[in-house]
């Protein structure tokens, strides 16, 4: 790409905020009232993680995997694809995370929680609060319609942030499961900044917050890392 240094983010974001949030609105319309179920599942999953059952969280991981796959298929594959060629790439990214969570967490039982041993309990809880009950109110807070609210399990950003929260509450650091949601926060932030969204800072901040917490945990206890 000649003169690559002259390109800015806006050269690669080919849609407006108006079109983007309308895609979210139509995505919400097409799935309603599944959002209530997703929100309920999100709260239940958060509670289950905090209760920290003694056995591996297979069911939780299966749920999270299904939700990542659902976002890949329904949001990116069906709605976002109408305004951006990057939808296929992002769909694959979410599908990869779904596969990883399913394999490592649900099939291999490689993810478990313990109240006495959490990677980063405080940061994990904070991210869950932001993603599950917090994210839906972002839309009206910044002047958008409720119908454009982003909900865990239905929209990409809160799904990724909630996953980071769950992973920080686990008893062992799983970098292979953290990578995609951290990366997604950065990608989303860049995209939202490109369209001038006032909430562009939220996903990358969540990613950096999770990354910092994970690195701190690694330094504190090298045995945490895998």
């Amino acid at each position: 790409m000649p003169e690559w240094w002259t390109y800015t983010i806006s050269d690669f974001v080919h849609f407006s905020a108006r079109a983007y949030y309308r895609v979210i609105e139509r995505h919400n319309e097409s799935g309603w009232p599944a959002h209530l179920l997703a929100l309920g599942l999100g709260l239940a999953a958060s509670a289950a993680t905090l209760r920290a059952p003694a056995r591996p969280a297979r069911a939780l991981c299966a749920l999270v995997a299904v939700l990542w796959a659902g976002v890949a298929w329904t949001f990116f594959g069906r709605h976002f694809a109408a305004i951006s060629w990057t939808a296929a790439i992002f769909a694959w990214l979410f599908a990869i995370e779904a596969a990883l969570v399913a394999w490592i967490g649900a099939i291999r039982a490689g993810l478990s929680f313990s109240r006495r041993r959490r990677i980063a309990g405080g940061p994990g809880l904070a991210l869950l609060v932001i993603a599950v009950p917090g994210y839906p109110v972002l839309a009206p807070l910044v002047g958008r319609d409720w119908r454009q609210a982003e909900i865990f399990g239905v929209a990409a950003d809160p799904t990724a942030i909630a996953t980071l929260g769950h992973l920080l509450l686990a008893d062992r650091l799983r970098w292979e499961l953290l990578a995609v949601p951290i990366l997604w926060g950065l990608i989303s932030g860049v995209t939202l900044w490109g369209i001038g969204s006032p909430t562009a800072w939220v996903p990358p901040l969540a990613s950096m917050f999770a990354l910092t917490a994970a690195l701190h945990a690694t330094r504190r206890d090298p045995g945490q890392a895998r």
């Binding site: 080919h14 849609f15 305004i83």
Partner: protein
């Protein structure tokens, strides 16, 4: 293929050498354009027209871009809003709409608008070929035309010079076959101006599209003079820097002398600056709002600034 330098083209508001042939061509093209406009679509004040140097065909000095603004996917409500913008555009005397396969669903949304307005919409269809593959060029142009719902494009441009050597061959061949009317190249934001100039001097293109506005005036040095010398029509993109320019000066009061340029708003003053350059055929600001397209088209009417007023406009905006 070398091209002989042409005499500078006539501008309706201007000057320079003309030929009888170019006048007859221009009159014929205007009559054809007027015949296509549905009753009731005539603006109370018609836009200023300038001729395409290679043919004499007259076009209004303000067109309509579709970058970002028309990429609304399959949303029926947003598509109808874009159709309303197109309706207002044509009603105000507009003709050139510019798009590209790079602009997502914009082409299909334009097609939706044209279908809603009826095929009598007097559109001058300007699109682009945007692929590195020589073989993919023609199929892509066909797909684009299908999105628009047009049999052929008036103008096809090589987008950002991607694969330009192969695609110019294709486009010249298609023009010879009557499958398009004009051939052009594009760039934006000051990129690859040397390559653009070299192509302008070496190939018989009809159009060149570049970024030009009151702050980004690099093209004044070489490309605009080369366009006049070679008889190449200039389309201007980013006359408002994507809206950033207007936003950055909107809080400042419009100077009282702006009325001398026939401008009642900053957008109109900035557009008149661009389209008043003798080498510029038209600017293609993009918008998703009917009010803005009417404001833009109003800039295409009335008087255009002369050189002294243009310098004053540039100096004033730079000082803000």
């Amino acid at each position: 293929m070398q091209r002989e330098p042409r005499a500078a083209s006539l501008a309706v508001m201007g000057h320079s050498t003309v030929t009888r042939r170019s006048i007859l061509k221009a009159l014929a093209a205007s009559a054809a354009a007027l015949a296509l406009r549905p009753l009731g679509a005539f603006a109370s004040t018609a836009p200023v027209l300038k001729p395409i140097p290679s043919s004499g065909e007259l076009l209004p000095v303000v067109g309509l871009g579709s970058w970002i603004t028309f990429n609304v996917g399959s949303d029926p409500g947003l598509r109808d809003e874009c159709a309303a913008v197109m309706r207002a555009f044509f009603a105000a005397g507009g003709r050139m709409i510019d798009s590209s396969p790079m602009y997502g669903s914009s082409q299909a949304v334009i097609g939706h608008g044209l279908a809603r307005l009826g095929r009598a919409a007097p559109v001058f269809s300007a699109d682009k070929v945007w692929t590195a593959s020589r073989q993919e060029g023609e199929p892509q142009i066909r797909r684009s035309a299908a999105h628009w719902g047009v049999g052929r494009f008036d103008l096809v441009q090589v987008h950002n010079l991607l694969g330009w050597e192969a695609h110019l061959e294709t486009l010249f061949r298609m023009k010879e076959d009557g499958r398009l009317r004009y051939v052009g190249i594009t760039t934006s934001e000051g990129r690859r101006h040397r390559d653009v100039e070299a192509i302008m001097l070496a190939r018989p293109i009809d159009f060149v599209q570049v970024t030009y506005n009151v702050l980004d005036r690099e093209v004044e040095a070489r490309i605009l003079p080369a366009a006049r010398e070679r008889g190449i029509a200039v389309i201007v993109n980013r006359p408002f820097r994507g809206g950033d320019l207007i936003r950055s000066i909107a809080s400042h009061r419009l100077p009282p002398w702006a009325a001398r340029a026939g401008a009642a708003t900053w957008a109109q003053l900035l557009l008149k600056f661009v389209v008043s350059h003798p080498a510029v055929l038209c600017a293609i600001p993009a918008t998703s709002q009917v009010a803005h397209v009417r404001e833009n088209m109003a800039a295409a009417t009335g008087s255009l600034p002369d050189a002294a007023l243009r310098r004053r406009i540039a100096a004033h905006v730079e000082s803000l």
